[in-house]
């Protein structure tokens, strides 16, 4: 068959796929509306910075010092203090989730402050370990409040202030350390994985289930044409979704972008290729929409959520798992996106990311190509 006819045939296939996409509202919904919803959730709902925490207080000591400390805690903008009459009552509240921690000011606290030393701790802080993030926060803030209060108490008493080593910190690349600034670029990764892998996961399987694959094969289409016709329209769709996400991130959420557009598109395109490859591979291998759907969720989406470094640091994972994350394409994309947004074109980082992404794309698309059957059986 002459190249011109092949090209025309490819064009016809592309047109068919595009029409199928455009006529199915669910595809467009996922590619365009869904990213916007997710971004708004990430922008408004996901907040790793704690706001006001309900904190229980049990004052077993009635001294004026204890009362002053309780007042200081109550005055803190980070806590909403709930007093309990006993440790048991506070424990019940903790178990029911009404408070996320409680402070016990033990009998003898006031005397300790006056004397200036303690043999047993006068303050016990109990946190809800079932919410580790909040527990750390409660621990750190109560400690900090106590330290400041001690210093003021000592100062008002005329005693020499207890000096300790202090630290002043500032952050590069995200000076306000707004969690949004690093969450949103990362969340674009999740959205792209969904659009790339989930949409394509059903595409080939659907043709098998409906019997239209037989018609395509009977027309004598080459493997290249088949894979290409599935790939290209969804690539375009994916890049549109990417454009929407990035545009919203930069212009609506005011997340700074310090890299170059070229690098951004290059990275996004390569990642999309690997995501589409994952979906197509699953669809081709499994042939059942239902199974392909389950597999896509587990093989594409969940790893992107958990192992990409988006929320959970890859460096904190055990060595075995760190190696596993190397085969998760989303991991490279998250790194590249964070760098491009917050730092700019840091080429050593981008180069290794691009290498990982290209390898993944080639591997998945190559496997899809090899697995595509040209015959019925």
């Amino acid at each position: 068959m002459s190249p011109a006819r092949r090209l025309r045939r490819l064009g016809a296939l592309l047109r068919k796929e595009t029409l199928q996409i455009v006529r199915d509202p669910s595809t467009l919904l996922i590619a365009m509306v869904f990213p916007m919803i997710l971004l708004f959730i990430f922008g408004a709902g996901i907040n790793l910075d704690s706001s006001v925490v309900p904190l229980g207080v049990v004052a077993q000591d009635g001294s004026p010092e204890a009362r002053r400390f309780v007042d200081t805690l109550a005055g803190s903008p980070s806590f909403r203090v709930v007093t309990s009459s006993s440790v048991d009552a506070a424990s019940d509240r903790l178990r029911a989730g009404e408070v996320r921690g409680f402070v016990v000011i033990r009998d003898g606290f006031g005397q300790q402050i006056i004397d200036g030393h303690a043999t047993t701790p006068g303050v016990l802080v109990v946190t809800d370990g079932a919410e580790p993030n909040t527990a750390s926060f409660v621990d750190a803030y109560v400690r900090g409040t106590y330290a400041v209060w001690l210093r003021e108490e000592g100062a008002s008493r005329g005693a020499a202030p207890l000096e300790a080593l202090s630290i002043e910190s500032r952050a590069w690349f995200n000076p306000s350390t707004t969690s949004r600034n690093f969450l949103l670029p990362g969340s674009v990764t999740i959205i792209m994985t969904v659009v790339g892998a989930l949409l394509t996961a059903l595409v080939v399987a659907r043709e098998w289930e409906r019997g239209t694959m037989e018609a395509l094969l009977a027309a004598g289409i080459s493997r290249f044409e088949l894979v290409c016709s599935k790939l290209v329209p969804y690539f375009v769709l994916g890049m549109i979704a990417f454009g929407i996400c990035t545009g919203l991130t930069v212009w609506v959420f005011d997340v700074p972008f310090r890299g170059s557009l070229g690098a951004l598109l290059l990275v996004a395109g390569t990642f999309l290729g690997s995501a589409l490859g994952t979906g197509l591979l699953l669809s081709t291998a499994l042939r059942s929409q239902y199974n392909a759907a389950q597999a896509a969720l587990n093989a594409a989406f969940l790893p992107a959520m958990m192992l990409s470094g988006f929320v959970f640091e890859t460096s904190s994972m055990p060595a075995v798992l760190r190696h596993v994350t190397r085969i998760v394409p989303a991991r490279y994309f998250v790194t590249a996106m964070q760098t491009l947004f917050q730092a700019g074109d840091v080429w050593p980082v981008l180069r290794s990311a691009l290498l990982g992404l290209s390898l993944a794309a080639f591997a998945f698309l190559g496997a899809t190509f090899l697995l595509t059957k040209r015959r019925l059986q």
Binding site: G97, A118, V126, Y146, A171, L286, E313, S315
Partner: protein
């Protein structure tokens, strides 16, 4: 009565065969659960480990050496690197080889000896700001114990912290119970929604609707596979949690399973509602995902519900995952009683009634 039961039994049997009879399908139900339960508790950690901290020591005195020495022994920073200049430090941070830079000024040790220690300068990688801030907390914990002059006791005594239910704040203890909620949600919803959609595509849904089965029975029939899948997967995860990870189950197992039934009821309602407005399997799958993603994000799994703005927190009352996640964590880790989790249970029942009712109405309408 017996006729109804026989019909129900036959329907449930058919549904279960569809889900469990196919080898590929069965493997996809079990394998991923095992993998995830194995991997994710190790992955989902907000602890900071295995990082590099770069030290720019312009002081060279005894105190800065003492601080660096103590930092070398923390698990958070496996590598402590000394850099010679600010430019070198910048480079380490830019390329993300170091998470934090600590800089000791030239007067550091001398100022501390005077009793007015100058602050140490720290620079964090804001791209990984969550980890960097946790790392800083570790650094500050180390600093707290450093005496200003040799032989003096450390500052700020008198306060001790206990983390209940999870003494060392190990994140995997928080993740495994959460996985019970998250993994079963995805599967139960996909199973329900796609089974209806598949029947519609294959034409068997109409056959079902003209059979003597009432919509109520059909609902129960559709709920069966979801319930079986949920119970199967959550049991696997629970076993892994209790015997594999050694996370003690402090509550009542029957209570947890009873809540699971309520939860599956709510999910089936949602799944049926979604599939009632979809005409193909793809739409059903994407529709489920459209619901599940935001629902998981806003359930308290990724970020505590307490951290959300007030209006959003109120909106999550309509999210069944939020309630079941709270129930699972409370019952598993804290040993909560029914009274403790009552608000969440009521939330689940409310959602179940509303969504199932809505789905039943829509299906009823299709019949007439």
């Amino acid at each position: 009565m017996t006729a109804t039961l026989i019909r129900l039994f036959g329907l449930v049997k058919k549904e279960l065969e569809a889900i469990l009879g196919d080898k590929q399908s069965l493997r996809l139900l079990i394998m991923p659960v095992l993998l995830q339960t194995l991997l994710f508790p190790f992955a989902a950690t907000l602890e900071v480990k295995n990082n590099t901290i770069a030290i720019l020591d312009e002081d060279g005195g005894a105190l800065s050496a003492e601080v660096v020495q103590r930092l070398t022994h923390t698990p958070a920073f496996t590598r402590v690197v000394r850099v010679g200049s600010e430019a070198e430090a910048r480079d380490w941070l830019d390329t993300q080889r170091a998470l934090i830079i600590l800089r000791f000024g030239p007067e550091f040790s001398r100022s501390a000896a005077r009793g007015e220690p100058e602050p140490i300068q720290a620079i964090l990688d804001g791209r990984r700001s969550n980890s960097a801030q946790i790392g800083m907390a570790y650094v500050q914990a180390v600093l707290r114990d450093v005496p200003l002059a040799a032989g003096e006791p450390a500052a700020v005594p008198g306060l001790v912290t206990r983390h209940w239910y999870n003494e060392n704040l190990e994140y995997y203890r928080f993740i495994v119970p959460s996985l019970v909620a998250i993994i079963t949600t995805l599967s139960a919803l996909v199973v329900t929604a796609m089974s209806v959609a598949r029947e519609r595509e294959q034409g068997t849904l109409d056959q079902l609707l003209v059979s003597p089965l009432t919509p109520g029975l059909i609902f129960l029939g559709k709920a069966a596979p979801a319930l079986v899948v949920a119970v199967l997967q959550s049991t696997l995860i629970l076993l892994a949690g209790i015997y594999g990870y050694g996370i003690e189950f402090r509550g009542s197992i029957p209570l947890l399973y009873a809540c699971m039934v309520a939860y599956v009821g709510a999910l089936v309602g949602v799944g049926l509602l979604i599939s009632s407005v979809c005409s193909t399997q793809q739409q059903a799958f994407l529709g489920v995902f459209f619901f599940v993603m935001p629902a998981i994000l806003l359930s308290g799994y990724v970020t505590p519900v307490d951290n959300m703005p007030a209006w959003l927190e109120r909106a999550t009352w309509a999210n069944p995952i939020r309630h079941f996640l709270a129930i699972t964590k409370s019952v598993y880790l804290k040993g909560s009683t029914f009274a403790d989790i009552l608000p969440s249970v009521l939330g689940l029942v409310g959602i179940g009634v509303v969504t199932s009712g809505g789905a039943l109405v829509i299906f009823h309408r299709r019949l007439s």
